[in-house]
């Protein structure tokens, strides 16, 4: 890992000044989580990304009698992290603007997904509940619309119905089993999750991954981006009732998954990564590169056709606008923030795996609407093919892994720019080498926080298109 991590110990009272200083310097908070630092003491860790070019910072803060000052008014994106710590670790955040349960609420001892709705005064306005079992094959979540006629006045997504307690599930596992679990946190982000997790363990172990493995990790991660972005265009074509466009997007996605299956033995490219490198020697099948280049032609033609379709463009332009300031404050990440003009990408800003040896273009758009989000994803799709074409002829030889034993009591932070944005794994290791605490900051947790701001005060007709244009997963958010 080229960019080191800076660890600081802060007093609870010093937190606000530090956050303000970070924001004034052009930085942004990334996440916060609690862990049992000592048998009787919790510690909260805040991850901050100062302006580009500087290392990430980890602030360690001890709550005083289970209480910390809330930073949600200064850095709104921390609001959800604080509520999560409140629900799962019993901490209190003084002065939190929305101190309601987020992830879990107990009624008569039974954990359930919380729901807090604002009071409504207008007698004309009604609540419309949609889900958690919704039409089509989709993930479970409940969406509540406060509406008058076609107009959406306010929108509340009720998430965390799928909260499996994945972070808890890691506790006590061996680092290798942890990797298998990380691959199953968010299925369509299997490679990114395994990659961020492995890099966290490797940092804790202080081991250097061989170039062979680092290159293959990039190859798999970019292939994952390609099938995810193709899925995204299929969804967007579906939402804009472009039936052939939907079918073609889905077919292209299927072809990539079949290529992934032929390359790795698993369509989601699971069971390849492990702490220290890769689990086995890899080989590119004989006709694989040719199939990839045929696929690329199909993708280019498909994207060009979409970009010429006025009925599709009409539905995207000005739909679901996420202003730059809101994207920044609420913590939007990945293609979503880049479509709102925020120039961030972990592959370039804090390179990992073999990204420091490769040119990583970071496409941006300014308008923040559904069209901008589609444009950014289309450009990323093309860039991923470029990266693969550059990488495939220069794959190194050498060992596929090195021994990787995380030291007792050690800590590591790993990250990856998943197809949906920044993904972090913080890993604490027990004295016996098993996992003590694993924190997962998934991109969908960040983007679900920002998404409702593009739905309030819009209309029902645009909702499905707007939702498709965000490309969210619920498993990643709920964990």
């Amino acid at each position: 890992m080229s960019a080191p991590l800076q660890k600081l110990v802060l007093d609870a009272d010093a937190l606000q000044a530090r956050v303000e200083q970070l924001l004034a310097g052009g930085g942004r908070m990334q996440m916060a989580y609690a862990w049992q630092a000592e048998p009787d003491a919790l510690e909260v860790r805040y991850l901050a990304a100062p302006a580009t070019g500087q290392p990430l910072e980890l602030w360690c803060v001890r709550p005083v009698d289970g209480v910390l000052p809330s930073m949600a008014l200064h850095a709104p994106l921390l609001g959800w992290y604080e509520r999560e710590m409140q629900d799962l670790y019993g901490l209190t955040f003084r002065g939190h603007p929305e101190p309601f349960p987020l992830v879990i609420e107990r009624s008569e001892g039974v954990p359930r997904a919380p729901l807090t709705l604002p009071d409504v005064v207008d007698p004309q306005a009604q609540w419309l509940g949609f889900g958690p079992v919704r039409a089509d094959v989709v993930e479970s979540a409940q969406f509540l619309f406060l509406y008058i006629g076609e107009a959406i006045v306010h929108y509340v997504p009720r998430l965390f119905l799928k909260h499996r307690g994945m972070e808890r599930r890691f506790e006590g596992l061996s680092p290798l089993h942890g990797c298998v679990l990380a691959e199953r946190v968010s299925g369509v982000g299997s490679v990114a999750h395994a990659l961020a997790y492995c890099q966290a363990v490797e940092q804790a172990a202080g081991c250097a991954v061989p170039q062979y493995a680092r290159q293959w990790r990039v190859l798999l991660a970019e292939l994952e981006r390609i099938y995810n972005h193709l899925h995204y265009f299929g969804q967007l074509a579906d939402a804009t009732t472009l039936k052939v466009g939907q079918a073609e997007g889905r077919l292209l996605e299927e072809r990539v998954k079949q290529l992934a299956g032929a390359l790795t033995g698993q369509r989601f490219m699971r069971n390849v990564l492990c702490p220290g490198g890769l689990r086995r020697e890899m080989a590119v099948p004989a006709d694989w590169v040719d199939r990839l280049s045929v696929l690329r032609k199909g993708v280019e033609s498909y994207l060009a056709q979409l970009e010429r379709t006025t009925s599709y463009l009409d539905r995207l332009i000005t739909t679901g606008v996420l202003p730059r300031e809101v994207a920044f404050d609420q913590g939007a990440t990945g293609p979503i923030e880049r479509a709102s003009g925020l120039d961030r990408d972990l592959r370039r800003d804090h390179p990992y795996a073999a990204y420091d040896e490769l040119p990583v273009p970071v496409p941006l758009a300014e308008s923040g609407d559904a069209h901008a989000r589609a444009q950014v994803r289309a450009a990323e799709l093309r860039a991923s093919f470029d990266l693969l074409e550059l990488l495939l002829p220069q794959l190194a030889s050498g060992p596929c892994r090195v021994p990787c034993e995380a030291m007792p009591g050690s800590f590591g932070l790993g990250w990856a720019e998943s197809p949906r944005g920044s993904l972090y794994y913080a890993v604490h290791v027990n004295a016996d080498g098993t996992l003590a605490r694993v924190k997962i900051k998934s991109p969908s947790f960040s983007n679900w926080r920002a998404f409702p701001f593009t739905v309030h005060q819009t209309n029902m007709m645009d909702y499905a298109i707007n939702e498709a244009s965000f490309g969210l997963t619920i498993a990643g958010c709920d964990r």
Binding site: S140, H163, G165, V180, S186, G265, N271, T309
Partner: protein
């Protein structure tokens, strides 16, 4: 104005001939559940049981492989990589749908192949023509959903087999469940099942729904469908690929025989 329909027509048929053409399933090169080879364990190594993240493997008193529960298997290949004697081998067996949960349990005991007799009266006549499926995600990683969504892509084109996804449970014949059944999803899942008219069937899709898999066992995660709903077909896999899901649907409809008995493959 681009002509999408013409573009689609020019591209021709993308749909596979599978299952009519048994080789055209589209899963070439993928690995399935580990196969138990003819070589028996030679040493007291315990490596496979220790390697398994879901406790699917049980050893006998000598430390040799005794049982393997495919209903817990996520085909992570760790046991295959750990096995020194070749007892556990990689395989491309991914179609593991069965009617009885016990049929997913391989054990060293001699295999008994049950008669095919009960097949004929098992499924109601009303399902013969077509099948309408209501899917419920009860806490999955989205891997199963990704593969279920793939069923409607032009390659698998599920409609050609007379199987359709439907929006309302009131119009559904089959409840297809993915995920570990989290505490919060248990009630909506049971509500969907209650809303379905009789006769109704349940398919547990994916290792999470069969046994909780690698994600089960926490306070909120649940451990799959056992004891939650009456299951008609169990399909382990992490996730089962689209062809495996189609196989399981055809098994439910008795348009395909069950291949797995007592954890062993039996082609009829």
């Amino acid at each position: 104005m681009p002509l999408w329909t013409l573009r689609g027509l020019i591209q021709g048929t993308a749909t596979t001939e599978w299952p009519k053409d048994p080789a055209a399933h589209g899963q070439h090169g993928t690995l399935g559940m580990p196969r138990i080879g003819a070589e028996r364990c030679t040493e007291d190594c315990h490596r496979c049981a220790e390697a398994c993240p879901t406790n699917a493997i049980a050893l006998d008193t000598r430390g040799h492989l005794e049982t393997l529960d495919y209903g817990r298997c996520i085909h992570c290949q760790l046991c295959v990589e750990a096995c020194p004697s070749g007892t556990l081998q990689p395989s491309s067996e991914w179609a593991f749908g069965v009617r009885e949960r016990e049929d997913l349990l391989w054990s060293l005991a001699p295999e008994v192949l049950p008669a095919e007799a009960r097949l004929a009266e098992h499924i109601e006549h009303s399902f013969r023509g077509s099948l309408h499926v209501r899917h419920v995600d009860a806490g999955s990683c989205n891997g199963c959903e990704s593969e279920l969504q793939a069923l409607n892509n032009p390659f698998y084109n599920l409609h050609r087999l007379g199987i359709f996804f439907t929006a309302s449970p009131r119009a559904a014949d089959l409840l297809l469940v993915t995920g570990t059944v989290t505490t919060a999803m248990r009630e909506p899942l049971q509500a969907a099942w209650t809303a379905m008219p009789d006769p109704k069937r349940v398919l547990a899709c994916g290792t999470c729904a069969v046994s909780g898999g690698v994600c089960g066992g926490t306070e909120t995660s649940g451990n799959g469908l056992e004891g939650v709903l009456p299951v008609d077909v169990w399909l382990p896999g992490c996730p089962p690929n689209p062809a495996a899901i189609i196989e399981a649907l055809l098994l439910l409809l008795e348009r395909k025989p069950q291949r797995i008995h007592g954890g062993r493959v039996h082609e009829r």
